[in-house]
Symmetry: C2
Subunit: 243 residues, 2 copies
C-alpha cells in the first residue's frame, strides 16, 4: 500500500496500475520503459498543464469537431492509463476509436478492446489492412477507421507512425510529453501534456466550442510556436530549480 501522504502518491498509483496492466499483457515491457520516459518529462514540466498545452488542447478540440472523419488511435499504454477518459472524449467529439499496436497480437487486441469497452468506449473492429507505409504490423489499420480518417489523435505514439500518417495527408494531433521527440516534431499539432490531464481538457473544449470558433482556431495556429512555448516552460523551471 502506498501511503496517501507520500510526495509522489499520484505518480506511484499510476505506476502501480500500469504494472498491473503489464502483468495482464495489456501493456508491454517496452511500454513500461516508455512510461518512465514520460514520467521524467512530466516531472520536468511540473506535472501540470502549461498555458501552451492548454491552448493546444483547445485547438485539438477544434480540429476534432470540425473534421469529417476524426479517429482516436489507442495503444496499450493509453488504454491502461485512460480508457474511461477516451470514452468521454469519444462522446464529446464524435470520433471513432481504433486500437493500433506496435507489438500487435490478436490476444492483445482482444484484451485492449475489452478494457476499452468495459469503460464505455465504442471500439471500431474489422479486418485490418496494411495501409500505412511502415514495416511490421504497425502498418495495419482499419479501412473504415484510420484508413479513411482526415484527423487522427495519437496519444503516446512512435515517431515513425506519426510521419506515416502525415504522408497519407492526414492531420495528426500528438500528445507527447517530450517536445523534442520525432512525434512532437512531425505532428500537425503537438500537445505537450500528460495524457490523463490532456484528454479531459480536450473533452471540455469539444463541448464548449461552436463550429465557427472551432473553424477559426483550427486554421490559425503555428505548431512550432506551441512546441517552443512548451520547451521554454521546461527551461524556465530548470533554471530556477536550484535557487
Amino acid at each position: 500500500m502506498i501511503p496517501k501522504n507520500h510526495p509522489r502518491y499520484h505518480s506511484l498509483i499510476v505506476r502501480e496500475g500500469l504494472v498491473r496492466c503489464a502483468r495482464e499483457r495489456i501493456v508491454t515491457l517496452e511500454g513500461l520503459i516508455a512510461h518512465g520516459r514520460g514520467e521524467a518529462f512530466d516531472y520536468l514540466i511540473g506535472e501540470r498543464t502549461s498555458p501552451a498545452a492548454l491552448q493546444a488542447e483547445r485547438i485539438a478540440a477544434a480540429l476534432l469537431i470540425t473534421a469529417d472523419h476524426p479517429v482516436i488511435s489507442v495503444n496499450g499504454n493509453t488504454a491502461a492509463l485512460a480508457a474511461g477518459l477516451i470514452a468521454g472524449l469519444q462522446e464529446a467529439s464524435g470520433a471513432a476509436v481504433e486500437v493500433n499496436l506496435f507489438h500487435r497480437s490478436d490476444e492483445r487486441i482482444t484484451r485492449i478492446n475489452r478494457l476499452l469497452e468495459e469503460q464505455g468506449v465504442r471500439v471500431l473492429k474489422g479486418e485490418a489492412k496494411r495501409l500505412l507505409p511502415l514495416s511490421h504490423d504497425r502498418a495495419l489499420c482499419l479501412p473504415g477507421g484510420i484508413g479513411s480518417a482526415d484527423v487522427v489523435l495519437v496519444p503516446l505514439e512512435d515517431g515513425d507512425r506519426c510521419q506515416a500518417l502525415r504522408s497519407l495527408g492526414k492531420k495528426v494531433i500528438a500528445i507527447d510529453l517530450n517536445p523534442l521527440s520525432r512525434t512532437a516534431q512531425s505532428a500537425d499539432l503537438t500537445i505537450v501534456d500528460e495524457v490523463t490531464r490532456a484528454l479531459p481538457l480536450i473533452t471540455v473544449f469539444c463541448r464548449e466550442l461552436d463550429q465557427d470558433a472551432a473553424k477559426t482556431l483550427s486554421i490559425g495556429y503555428d505548431n512550432r510556436i506551441i512546441r517552443k512555448a512548451a520547451l521554454d516552460e521546461i527551461i524556465k523551471r530548470l533554471t530556477h530549480a536550484l535557487d
Copy 2:
C-alpha cells in the same frame, strides 16, 4: 532485430537487454519504468559524459580508494546493465559488492548474485539484518558490508535509502541521471551520468590516482556546484534544441 543504422540503436539494444532481464525476473517491472526515466534524462544531457560528471567520477574514485571500507551497492537494474563493469570497478577500487533490493526476495537475490558472479564480481553474502532506518526490506543489509561501510557507491538508487545511509554517517556517492532527484540532492557526491559510462571512468581514475592526490580531491569539492553544472548542461542543450 534492430538495424545497426537505427538512430537510437544503442538505446534500443540496452532496452532489449533490460526487457530480457525483466523476463528473467532480475529486473522488476517498476525497474523498467525507472529505466525509462533514466533514458529521458540521458537524452536531455546528450547521452554523453559532461565535464561536471567527469570531475565527479574522478572524485568518486578518490573517495573509494581512500576509504577504509568502501562498498558498491548493486540493485537489479545495475546488475542487468553493468555486471561486468562492476567487476572491473571492484578490481580497481578494492570495494566490496553487496546486492540490495527494493523488491527483495530470496529468488531475486540468488539470480542477481549469479549474474554478477558470472561476470567476475565477488559478491558479499551472509545474513542480512535490518540496519537502515527504513520501512520494508530496503532496511536489510549485511553487517560486514554496507553495515560497516564508510563510503557507499549507490548507482540508480531510491532517495529514501540514500538519506538513510547518510543518517548513519556514511558517505554516499550516487549515480543518478536526474540532477534534481532526492537521491541526487541528498548524496555526498552526485554523478549525473549514465551508469555504463560512469563505472568504467571511475575505474580508470581508481587506477590513475595516487593516495595523495586522492586525499586532496576527496576533501576539496562542493557537490552543489557539481550538481548545478550538470543542470546547466541540460538547460544549455534545451535552449539550443529548436534553433
